[in-house]
Amino acid sequence: MNIINKAFLKLALLPSPVYDRMGVDKSALTAILNIKLTMDDRRVSGLQQAQRKKSDKDVSSATIITMVVSAVLGLLYLMAFYIGNNIVTGLTFYFFMFFFMLSATLISDFTSVLIDVRDTFIILPKPVNDRTVLLARLLHIFIHICKLVLPMALPGVIYMGVKYGIASAVWMIPMILLLTLLAIFFINAVYLIILRITTPQKFQNVISYFQIVFAIVIYASYQILPRMMETKGILEFDLTAYGWSAALPMYWMAVGWQSLTSLTFTAESVIFLFASIVVPLLCVWVVVKFLAPSFNNKLALINSSADGPAAPVTLKKHKRSGIAEKLGTILTKGNGETAGFLFAWRMSGRSRDFKLKVYPSIGYMLVLVVAMFLRSKNFSLATLADNGKEFKIFMIVGIYLMSLLLVTAISQMVYSEKYKAAWIFQVVPLEYPGEVILGAVKAIVLKFYVPIIVLIAIPGLMIGGWPALPNLLLGLFNQLLIAALLVYINFRNLPFSRKQNANLNGGSFIRNMGVMLISVFIAMLHYAAYDILVVVCIAAVLSMIATWLITGSIRKTSWAKIKAEQDA
């Protein structure tokens, strides 16, 4: 255990005479906290989950990494102080970002770190009284939140201290504390709502959708906010002029902070100050009194599908031919291909791991398209419709950026946490594993090609009209080509058959870069040929043929090739 955890442990155990009087077993409390903090140190936290990698090296200082990441996030929030022409507006945005990010982190941590279902089997059968277990859990949550909040708040507090003096820095601290309470209440409420509308078994899935949405929103805010800041409006934005701002708890806190630091109290500011203190405390009271008891019981059910009576078995009639089966039979030939297609189609829709990694990129693409529109000032639908240079850039950048989506999906397809289950492909009499790979690739392409068409082809055609069609087709064919190339060069592996690991070997990194370079090269060629209709048409046909040829080779991938990939 590192110094930070030791210090937190000491701090948490300071009021031990009080604990004694409450009837808490001190040595058990210390032991539980000690073990929990040690485990925290070896686990990857929610903040890093997006790029979670299982490296061969043991994680042993996750705490420090978490704290550094929170501090960096805290620095980013300082951006908010640029917004608006007065400090209350800026501070409201600061508090808002703080609240949002803290909630985003805690929402996944609550299930993965703070509530461990294994406790039921490990701690509960031991002679430890309930109070000790409860207190240990509360202190663990407290320490965990401190680890996030303290470094996160530090940059803001320092900034305030430097800019407005010590007193204003000091007053930041209670405000951030109140905000944290509010975040805890918010998460509790979200959890309860999710638990009400879904079963505990599906809970993890819903939480991962939340994580995906959070990731996209965060990405969007960092893409779009700085651009918006360049425009003048945001600098002169004054939140205090709007009536609706009174509904934001972050606004109350900002106003409260201002009247505390400047020691000027108006009737309005006193009300806001009062509200900013009372509402979070009220929320905590609601959590303790009403939400927490049922909360713990229900959380205990998460993951413990084996517990309690099994869900009533409803005999589901197997749908004879769902959309996947129909598409599968149309688009694939041979049993290996069909099997691969259906397998990848279903797995990509159900594996939480896959969704967590690929779905955000769909959102990122959407954000990028929006950001592109915002980027240049003379970028309007009217100039686009002229089919001039702007439209050309829009089409090329749009189409080839979109291919990132396919690339992400395809490169993620070979990985799975349940990679060991891929033995099934090894034992069945399959001459060319390439058939399964091709089927799987077809499924993934189909699934992630549709959003590309929706995002690019439809607006492209609407704005550019029929003249844009040949170029669109070429672009779309080229994307298939890039996808096929990527599989051929770098991901000739059975779907969901490999363990994700961080140390991508040098060779495959270079090959990945190679594929990226090829796609950039194709994009440039396309741009150069954009206006020459004949070339575009010929290129489109060539691209189709090339794709078809590569597809054929993927189909013929042998076991020896797969073995070589795995050993590499």
Binding site: T30, M39, I122, P125
Partner: protein
Amino acid sequence: MEPIISIRNLSKSYGTKTVLQDINVEIYPGQVIGYIGPNGAGKSTTVKILCGLLTDYQGTVTVNGLDVKTQTLDVKKQIGYIPELAELYDVLTPNEYLQFTATLYNLEKEVATQRIEKIMAAFGLEANLNQRMDTFSKGMRQKVLIASGLLHNPGIIILDEPLSGLDANSVIIMKELISRLAKDGKTIFYCSHMMDVVEKVSDRIVLINGGRIVADGSFEELKQQQGDKSLEQIFASLTATDSLSAAADELAKAMESRS
């Protein structure tokens, strides 16, 4: 002799579903109870009640004269529980994990350290004592779990499928250990699906089905009641509703069927 575990009129239901119905068992010190039944018969619910994990049941359960419902902590102190596979904090090392368990059982540190070293050495894991368990095989994890249940020298040991994942030699060690411990006067509550092992280690077999006890007695007694059959056959005749060989027959036919 006073029974060490006494279960009287025990019933338990989840909502409208009854899991245990009027269970009555008295267990005496030094007995090895083989607790068997098909999936969903209520075995793990019984175990959870005995360990003090579930307290909202009807009836009385006492351990060494202590009521499980009201004197839960004192009961827990006397029980060593070895749960089914994989329920451990695998980012820890065996040493850290076992020391942690020992503290929760209020064991002195020196005593704990000594016992941990000795138990792990007996299992041949002394070299892995300070390695994180996430790389451990099934059998190694199971050994750590067994160690964590025996560390505080409990009078009653509850084992839930303890042999899964163990290699043949470790199985022999465990079987010998169970009879050794019983000879020392410890009571062993053994839940398993492996009929041949249950037949050999237990001196009394309790068979439950659908939340009720359908057979209770030594293997010899069961044989007298049910005819001279193996435990596996007795189990089948008491719990299976349909003929098992008919099911096997259907399976074999299903493989050959053509649409």
